[in-house]
Subunit: 339 residues, 6 copies
């Protein structure tokens, strides 16, 4: 594999989107691809112009090939996708599906993910040639807590990836992304924390630390101090700040700690939201871009917030923004037509 800037490790699902209607009464669905870890990789490629790849697994059937078709449009290197043979019915292996409606006003977004028994949940660390992957020159590995929660074996997969990243000098980022449904019946939040704790010792950059908006810099710094005591490898800890007034109107910002320094974005009040799915991943990719390209931390966090804001103005999980738009929005508050 040629050198890439970032590799994401995670599941890529087919998102089925009923548009302005509801899943339960839909007669048609638009489809997109999406996945918490993947979305970061895709955005860094298509919006920010870096070279990125995805490590994942798919069942080799028409649905998996559709996900591939969508990932190709995402520009992400797909040569590290593991294809598992399909059994013709989905008893042994499947592809993940995610039916999500965007909501409106007082009606919240609503999703039902159908990702039991999927290909990546069965991937073993030995199925991937980690040294070949990272040996080609990888600057960054991004993964997270969604993958960690998919099955009993995915934490081993993540651990293997982190170890390889360490061997080859790549930075490791991890998005906690806690989803109760993933841990339901498997030990709940306690088990999730146990797994995360095991993995965080190898993490350099941490996203998704739970906070309530608003949070003061001091409070956040205190919270990070506790984290760093337990996980001394951590160099960056970040979280988005979101206050939901209605499905389409959020306050939106972020706060980041780096080696003792705190940067807070402006709070974008009354932000118009079309489809919030992927907003957090949009923040993560914008911040990583800033970190990878050496932006000032205060600007990097604005890139993250601006990109997350733009990602929520389009349907689907993934971003359709451009670097020029992110850069412009990071330093302004208002949009106007250009022609």
């Amino acid at each position: 594999m040629t050198a890439v800037d970032l590799v994401a490790l995670g599941e890529v699902m087919l998102r089925l989107d009923p548009g302005e209607g509801r899943v339960r009464t839909a007669r048609s669905f638009s489809v997109w691809e999406g996945g918490g870890e993947y979305n970061v990789s895709r955005a860094l490629r298509r919006c920010f112009g870096l070279r990125t790849a995805i490590v994942t697994a798919l069942a080799d059937n028409e649905v998996g090939r559709l996900v591939e078709d969508l990932m190709l449009a995402g520009g992400v290197d797909t040569s590290h996708v593991t294809w598992l043979p399909y059994d013709g019915i989905g008893r042994e292996v499947r592809n993940g599906l995610n039916f999500v409606e965007r909501g409106f006003g007082v009606r919240a977004p609503l999703g039902v993910s159908d990702r039991g028994n999927t290909a990546i949940a069965q991937l073993r660390p030995s199925d991937v040639d980690w040294d070949a992957l990272f040996g080609g020159g990888v600057r960054w590995l991004h993964t997270g807590g969604i993958l960690a929660g998919l099955s009993d074996t995915t934490p081993d997969l993540i651990e293997a990836a982190i170890d390889a990243a360490h061997r080859h000098g790549a930075t490791v980022s991890y998005d906690l992304n806690y989803r109760a449904s993933l841990w339901h019946g498997r030990g709940g939040r306690e088990r999730a924390q146990e797994v995360n704790r095991r993995l965080l010792s190898g993490v350099d950059v941490l996203f998704g630390v739970p906070t309530e908006a608003p949070v003061s810099a001091a409070t956040f710094a205190g919270h990070v101090d506790d984290l760093v005591k337990e996980f001394p490898r951590l160099r960056v800890v970040a979280t988005t700040l979101r206050r939901v007034h209605s499905t389409n109107v959020h306050d939106w910002g972020a706060i980041v700690w780096r080696d003792g320094e705190i940067a807070e974005s402006r709070m974008r009040e009354g932000l118009a939201v079309l489809d919030r799915i992927g907003g957090g991943d949009g923040f993560a990719s914008g911040l990583i871009y800033g970190l990878l390209t050496g932006l000032d931390l205060s600007l990097a966090v604005e890139y993250g917030v601006a990109h997350g804001a733009l990602a929520m103005t389009t349907p689907g999980d993934t971003s359709m923004a451009t670097l020029a738009e992110v850069a412009a929005l990071a330093t302004t508050a208002v949009a106007d037509v250009s022609r």
Copy 2:
């Protein structure tokens, strides 16, 4: 439950249909509901005007509720649907999905069913109150080999249903509908035959006996004789005759044996086909209508063939035809505008 004419027992899936395109490159899907056994029940209600019901199980999530929304439009009594709680991710129970493209010309229809670990595959005989169901007055039970192949427990479910039908004097029909994928890794065709053999002893009306078109009445009769020797309860044995010239052009007919009598439909040559999925179920429902309402066998088989032909002129698995159209087509060969 009030009296119904027919109860179907089987899985109902969400059909995802990319229209004139392909699943692997689709950006949107229309959705329909479908299932081999269910389609018969739906057609007898909406096309033929009988009262019908479905016995099935669904996972209680947005996808299951969408299937319910579609089944309600199908007019079928849904009060015997068992709703299983969803685990939020689909590890324990799911709803069946069926991605199918219709094909065109030299490109065959292509489907990928994603129905592993679904609700009905886990339904136990004791989950259904069979005597309450049949005690309300049911004239006919329709089920088949697709359900039988879904899991190791579904044959028990079918057996319980057949026993109840016998107790309450209902006719039992069964569509063999052999699908290799269902038996893959579970004993294959041999195991399928073993299961079918166990169930066929309780069957009165058998659909889907494998034949090649063309077949002579004598050959078919000989074949039936062998079957009746093994399964003396059989009173009707039927099969469709299909010769595929291209995806959109079939020859289409059927042959039926009843108590020693043979009826052959006219062969509809060069039949225009839009979406062949559900054609066989269309035949079954048309023939059952004829049997239930006492049509001459020769007319009943034409009803079956005409209804199957009409079901293949519309997208989706299910029929959108009317009884008037079936009756008219059963006795003619050409369509003309009415206005």
Copy 3:
């Protein structure tokens, strides 16, 4: 007929909806079914889980059958629909059509109903077997002023239904729903009031009493006192309070009187509205649900307001909400994603 919780009596129209565009320049329309009285019955079935039915009439043509297809998806018992033979051109009998655009911002919703000479306008009291209908066990009859205004004969129909409800112990609700167009050229508001006055003597629960938002509890109570003096049977009088800031932003609440008790909902200020058609019916069904299931009046009115609010977040006249959503929104103000 088996026991049902509520029967609605009213016209069901085909709603033709140009989406975000306008009727006058549309090139395609989505279709839904809708009708002031029917919407209540449908919502009680699909959102609130009760058993409901519709008494109406349709012309037996393809449009009528499409309305039936939509009503079936609505889950409402259609066995009391009277089908009138179509004359092939619509001179003698028709189905009601309702072309409505949703509006945007300063552009108001705009509709043109095309419901002259429709089937239900010609239905006679003797066309329905009222005692068979109510004898099966009906808890509630809902009808209203739209039906009363459709033709000179519909008040007789309503009277017959109310009489039967009284005979069989069913509660009677009536939504005034004054529409000037219905009475144009037939005596106007004065004639409408005359007809309503004749019918209100049999009504237990009254919706749609005209008020201006805001209204004080005392003012409303005074207004109800006058009504109860004239119509002593009244036990509940309710009205929604709506202030339109723009087509997509309303203040929305309600006030209810029951046997001297007044309950006011919180006022939902700045409510986001996608399609306001059916909001009032959403309120009525939510309140009736509360009354039928014995909720506290103060909670029942919040159910009504919450359900009406949710009904206005989706396209079409009818609700796509769930009971869980209504219950949650009734006690909170903000929506958030669940996943």
Copy 4:
């Protein structure tokens, strides 16, 4: 009014088209405008480049304005449309609607026209200033039996138009277009013939003489002789010849008599048909173009047949063909790509 080549007199309806599906299960409709007489005027303008106008009436509501929007795109002069005030409900006056599905294979096209009590059915001869209309210089008037059957007053309207045409030297064409539904309950075919007989005495060019394909030139000539004896004004009598193999495969041709001369088109066997509605009007407009521009009769009939064939390759009632395409197809049998 400036000089126009042809004025059509007839109703223009909104055509609602469910695409490849069926009206009875549709969830959306495309809309077009159409009407037997109007289609001829539109095609002469947009395909053949002549200047044409329509005399019709519409109810002044959003549906009527949508029909106007569509007619404007049709290029037809709309300044002679009479707008009747709408009563808000459609009791007194309406616009005509035409729900038509195209059919497929053995499933015939199926329509339900909803045109009772429409504006043009109430138009009186005195509502139109015929002399102003024809005085501007009109070469041709086209009308027909659909309009004649709409109401008891439309024959008077046609008669007034024909008289005015005669006064101003315009040729009069009339398409018999017998539709049983129009005369149902009003005297049937006998009454239709009586009305037509009254009007045909003023007609120069007659379309739609009933024939069976195939018909010999001699038989047709004999039939025309009888007609001419009764209606000596007739100069041209034409009919299309259509044999329907299936909804999408017709044999298609025409035969025309002019002053004793007979011209037969080649028979286009196995013609592919997408939507047959408007094919006959396509023939009429092509032939009229040939007659107006002085083509040889044998070529004029091929223009008619070619244009009708092209009109049936696109959805909707109206033609989307170009004069160049008609001219090319009139003299060849096969289509090839041009690029």
Copy 5:
């Protein structure tokens, strides 16, 4: 040509609109026609009921014919369109295309116009018979700075039109509409001003004078004084006032000077905007309507603002509003449903 109220001179492009998505990731586009000068002519015809025409040029290919189809629906007289033969590839002459997305929230509208080498850019003054055009009786000529910037020859075209308007007593309006892209590489803003200065000496009514919102009447008057000194023919100078809070929320108003009198509209704060393209043209047409029909200046400016506001509530460049809606909104602030 018959008398018309207004003739617009300018390019008409095909607008390609990806709906709520983005051009760069679209898989389908809706199409509309549009052009700054044309939009005024279309709105005066379809919304305000005047008779209008367009002088433009198109390449004679399928795209040009599609623009014609759209212009016909716009009701504008197309008899003065010059059709240039297409070379089959677009080297010599083309039709203008305009890919524009509407934006959302913090994401601004974004367009890419593809109008190099188009037909109108090559039109010569002598290609149009100006005296025939204006001799028929034209009250108003509208053109502007977009056309002036299209090529080196278009200013001559405008000059010829203005001269003819003067000869025939028509009022001349001109919208400055400065677009940097048009002048890029051709002298920029300086050259634009030079061209405009040459043309403004013949202009009576000037739109698009650059101002910042808010502006005081005095400041605006002072600005106009300077203009009138240079261009003493000016009788009316108008500009819209727009403050963009987000793509969908603008403050919107206008200020107009006429012969020393100043009229300011109310400022519509927080106006909901769906697609802002065409808002300024909407203002111009509303004001011209007021001037042509003799409304008070203070009402005329409200008509302009109201019409511009309504034009921004629908997709596409052009207005779908009605005169009744404009008149109502001009004197109120809130929209409510009418039914």
Copy 6:
């Protein structure tokens, strides 16, 4: 650049497709990417699983980025695309657009390409680092006569590419693909032949030799002999044989000469065609696959014909077929469902 199997050199246009309707009356378009040379590269990647790249140029605007989005989904390496800055209006450089309708029955496919002054027409040989491109290891270069005809400079570009291919040992294929419109006004067919003659001396594999179906092997061999005399480098000469019965029914086959050996495919009679655009490119890619992977010539030609046939069963210029489907169809004549 890493090793790739094939590099295509040519223009990639945005295809705008009105579906079953016509360009001239469309209100929406689906978009695809396409280009004669590119289509071969895309199909070898997505259908046949080889690694391929495209050398082309695009204007850097939203349309160009949309073409990139589509090419990424095509899986083709886009790192050799040259992006030219856009001038904001399209005077200096543009992206190619191709409006094409598929036709139906007697109505032929119809296109209008709008590709004057496009980016690749201005690309100079020195803009591409040919040795870097081919030095990475390229087995095959594919280009052709469409590119050669785009501008006066494109033949130089092709020549540079061929020279580089020779230097690095890559096979060179060339598709004559004569399009009259490209040479109109620039010397016509004579000039095209002159250009082709100059380029053919470097070509190994030649597609698109004009022939009429049917052609005998002997005749074809004779024709090739003449070619080889003039261009002795030629090792393979191939042509498709197509006979058009109607837009949707073709006879389809091919004949290939390789070093004196002739292979003819079976003739697929009555092949069903949905969208013929790209059929010839489908043949070329299938044959190249066979040549690259060492299939017998007789099988290779069947792969080409089968792939071309499949490419014509889906909308758009490009293939959506799979290698398994091509391999299956290459040896059979009939399609059947697999499930």
